[in-house]
Structure formats: structure tokens, C-alpha cells
Amino acid sequence: MATEHLTQDSIRSTPLSRMAELAGTGAKVGLNYLKYYGQRAVSPESASKALRDDLDDVNARTVYESFSKLKGGPLKLAQMLSIDENLLPPAYAAQFAQAQYSAPPLSWPLVRRTLEREFNQPVESLYDRFTPEAAHGASIGQVHVAYRDGQKLAVKVQYPGVAESMRSDLRVVKPIALQMLGLREVDIAHYFTEVETRLLEETNYVRELQQSREIASACSKLPNLRFPNFYPDRCSNRVLTMDWIDGLTLDRYAASDALQSERNRIGQILWDFYMHQIHGLKRFHADPHPGNFLVNADGQLCVLDFGCTRSITPEFYALQFAFLNPALLDSADELEAALRAMDVILPTDGPAQRQKVTHLARESIELLTRPFRAGRFDFTDPSFLRTMYEMGETNRQDRELLSLRGARGRAESVYINRAFFGLFSLLHRLRAEVETCGELSMQRHSSNQGPAQSFLKKGLG
């Protein structure tokens, strides 16, 4: 658990001032772009890449500064974008990544009020001891340390009113995000609906309690994986009480002097956990942020925060993982059929568009299935993730690609991509080498489908 320094920043209040804040951000980003185009017009070709990086950097700071003043929706969105680094130039990602740790804390009177409102009892009778200062922030709440019957507990308190704010914030953020990413609303409306649904689900702590218990029990056979114990009598829609787990968050563990063999072991636990969820349970923890994993003193991997989970249907699973079949890349017809089935190629596409998309898909599949084809993959090598970022960046600037109209891909892909991309990033941070075939070969037995996963929409950005 990170005990980051919490600052008492000003808290933006009404929807109106939130709107004003976000509109101001949009204007500032716009101004930065104007400055960039102005400078580019008078700069030699060679300097333009550096200028573009400068612009991304300045814009990221501007956007982040305003996001960090807001709680709820925008903060959550910032975090989501930061995990999906491929969706954003690296400069944005670096700034957004900070969002996890820098939400302004709720005052103690409000925390007390929230607990007493939720349970109709004074805090003193709910817990033997309760620490008024938050131990750290969570995206839509904050975590306090408490004690009951000698047990150290983590009490997650949700920001009041955040569920309602989320909806209006998303409505405000959407056009800005579209502008920043150069996308058209109709083309990605289905993705926004998906994201909104998941974000609203995250505000329901009762659901989170249930999710975490179900996934924990379904994963109980996986060795060295630990889940916190929850206390339902101290959980409500807005409050979650669970065991406090001491340990290093995965990013801190990655930065520590842990042995290579230990890194590989932790990486393998993480990999197996995700493969079991996706291929076995067909339901997964869709928030693979380093703050959501701890390595404890016993060398176990502890999984926190089941607010964001996604289920996939067997039908979607079959379509999605058909892309892992190596034979697919050898047959142009089969590849095109698979892309059509996933709505990546649309019936209205002409031959040129089909060719463009297929080419891109082939490139993405080749790259993104690399860990699976290798059997054992070393995520330490930065070139794998870098190639992925670069591909995203190239595609984002590809005018021909941007001019492709139509709502492509499936909404379900958003979170499966997020999970895999997050997993790859975590493993890279860990500098781990993992066996990527164990679970998959097991799956080959259980279903005849050649399991694969596609990051097509990644490529399409």
C-alpha cells in the first residue's frame, strides 16, 4: 500500500465549476496546439519531432493539472487512459499515471459522516480504532486504517456523490478526449458507453464486494495468490472494509532490488492469474494498475480492488481468441473473415479500406501475439512495448486511417485490451520472464478453439 503524501488541494465544487475547469483545459490545450503549429511553420523539418514532443508534454501537464483538481469521473478517466498507454502519446501517459496517487483527501468530519450515514452507528462502535487521516487515495475514494478485534483493517470510503458526478463529468470529458485523440464521436460511441457502464459499476461497492469474493474463491487453487478478507457487516454501497495487507505495491516491488528469480516468479503468478480469469472464468479483473497489486513478506501476490471487472460471452471469447491461431496470418481469406466477424472490417468498406485494415491487423496480430508464440517470453526487453507504443502513435497520425469511418470493433474489446496491455506493462516493469504457454495449452484441451487474443483495436487506436 502506498502511503503517498496527500495534499489538500482545492476541491472543485459544483458541476458548473467542474465544467468551467474542463472547458478551460480544452481551451488551453487548443492554445498549445496553436503555439505548436505556429512554431512548426517557422521551424525546419528536423525540429518538428522535438516540437511535437514538447507539445504533448505541455498538453499533458495542462490536462493533468486540471484533472487532478477534480475527483471522480475525470480522475478515473485519466487513470484509465494512463493504463491504456497505447491510446495516448507517452507524454500524456506519464502525467496521467500520477493520478492514482494524488487525489485531495476528504475531511475527517465528512468521513465520519459517511460512515455514520451508511451504518447508522457512531464510528466508535463500528471500529475499535479509526485513523482520521487517509492512508492513501483510491480513484473514487480513500483508504483509512482501522482496527477491530486486534485485526488491522483497510476501510475504503467512497467520495459522496461521485456516482452522479461521474455521468456528468464523462459527458464533459468526452468531447475533449475526442478532440485530443482526433476521433469522431459516432465511431467510438460504443466504446464510451462501455467505459461509462464500467465506471458506474465501480461506484457500487456492494457489487465490488461480491465480485472480489467470487473471483477470489474461483482462484483459490492458484498458488501464492492472496485476496484480502472482507467484512460484509462493515461494507455498504459506499464503504468497504477488508484486511489491511502489508506489502509493496507492484511498482515499488519492481523498483526494489528483488532477485531475478523472484521477479520471474511474481510475474508468473500474475500471468497465470490473468490467464485463469480470461480463459477459465471468462471474467476478469480489468484494472491491472500497479497500485492494485501487492507483494507481501511471504512472497505472495495480493490482488486488491475488484471494482472493475468484465465478463465475456463464449461467443465473443471464440471470436477474440481466434486471432491467436498462427494459421490465421497465413490465410488472407480467413483473416478477413475473422476481422469481419469482429466488425473490424465493415460491410460498407471498399477494397482499399479492407486492404488498409487487414494490413494493419496483420501487423498488430503479429506483434501482440508475440509473447504467446514464444512459449517463454522475456518482458524485460523494452523494444516489445516500445514497438507497441510506436505502432499506436503511427496509427494515430495516419490520416488515411483516421479518415476511415464507421464504428469498428466490439465494445468488449476495450477492457480485454486494457487487461492484456496492463498485464504486459506490469510484466515489463517487473522485468520478468514468464512461461506463456502453460495455461494456453491447457485451454487447447478444454476447447478446440486455438486461443488467441487480438489487439486489433489497439492498432486502430
Binding site: 459544483t14 476528504l106 465528512l110
Partner: protein, 221 residues
Amino acid sequence: MDDFNAPEQPSIRHRIQSAYLHELKAEGRPPVSLFKFCQILGISERDFFSEYSSLEAVEIHWWRHMMDGLIQSVESGAEWPSFSARHRMLAFLFAFTTAALDHRSLLLLRMGHANPLTAVPEWSGLEDRFEAFAKSVLMLGRQQGEIASRGPVTAVYPKAMKLLLRSVVAYNLKDESPKFERTDAFIEKSVAVFFDVMGRQVLDSGFDLLRFLLPGMNKCA
């Protein structure tokens, strides 16, 4: 909160108050005729006027008494002495909205259509009491450096707190969120804004710079 007069032996004052509030809640308007009101209660007008100077005074006193009880209860909280001014204001407003749940119908009647900028006559006693409380909280804030002294402007702060209280009530009455949780967020955020504005900040440094520059500007002119 209704039973602050000894409940075992209802005094005339208490009976007057209960009958008044009952009629107000049930009919949606205060008693119209003093004569009839006394007749129903079985008391003489002299009895009535020995307790209250008018029918309106019954309600004004009642609201004030509610505020009084509330302030006493928050001030006797175990954590109160350790609270900063900001936390005291927050704790009070949260306690106020909790207590208000018992009187929501009355609040709707009195404040439902009121604009936070205009005073509601029935609330005059309550607001006087609240202003005195706000002054003491603000005084603590000034002593502890939470609130900047800005000369005559400082005198406006208690009035601003009064507007804050009315806004909280107005917000609460329109709030449809579960358990009125958005009112809690509104209180937290608006108190933060007030205290941020009252704290020493860019406004003061800006004013300081302006004062420093102004004589020079006059010279130039």
C-alpha cells in the same frame, strides 16, 4: 429536539409550541386565529401572551431553540476541541442536515421555495444564533491563522456563512440522491471554497502589490 421542555409535565409553553407545530405541519400554514388557537388549547389569551408576544414568535423561538440545542450538542463532542475552524463548520453542517431530517416537512414549508439570498422571517432567531456560532468559529480560525484578517471585509464572513447555511438547506431540499449523500459533498466542497477564499492567498498578495504600486501610479498621473 421537540422535547426540550420537561416532558413529564407539559408546561403551557410546551403545549403552545406542540399545538402550533402540529397545525403548521398538518395544515401547511400556521394557526390563523389566536382566539381559536387558545380555545382549543383551553388556555386564556393572557396565558398565551405571558409566554409569547405573538403567534409568529412561537415558531421563531422554536427554530432558535433547535439551533441552540444543535450547537450545544456539536460543541460537546469529544473531538470538538481538537477541530480546526474548517472542521468545526463541517461538523456543524453535517449535524444540522442530520437533525433536519426530523423536520424536513417544516423545512420544505418554510425554505422550499425560498431563495438563499432572501431572509425567511421565521428563521430570524435561528440565524441570529447561527451567526453568533459562526463568529466564534471564525474567531478561532483567525487566531489559528486559518483565516486572513482583511479589515472591514472580515465583517462580511459571518453573513457569508449564513448564506452558506441557507444554500445547504436549499440544496438538501432539492437533493434526490440516496441518503442525501450529494448534500454531504456539497457541504464539503462549499466549505472548502469558503475557507480557501478566507485563507491567506493570492488575493492578499495581489492587494498588497496594488497598495504598493498605487501611490507611484498617482505620481505618474
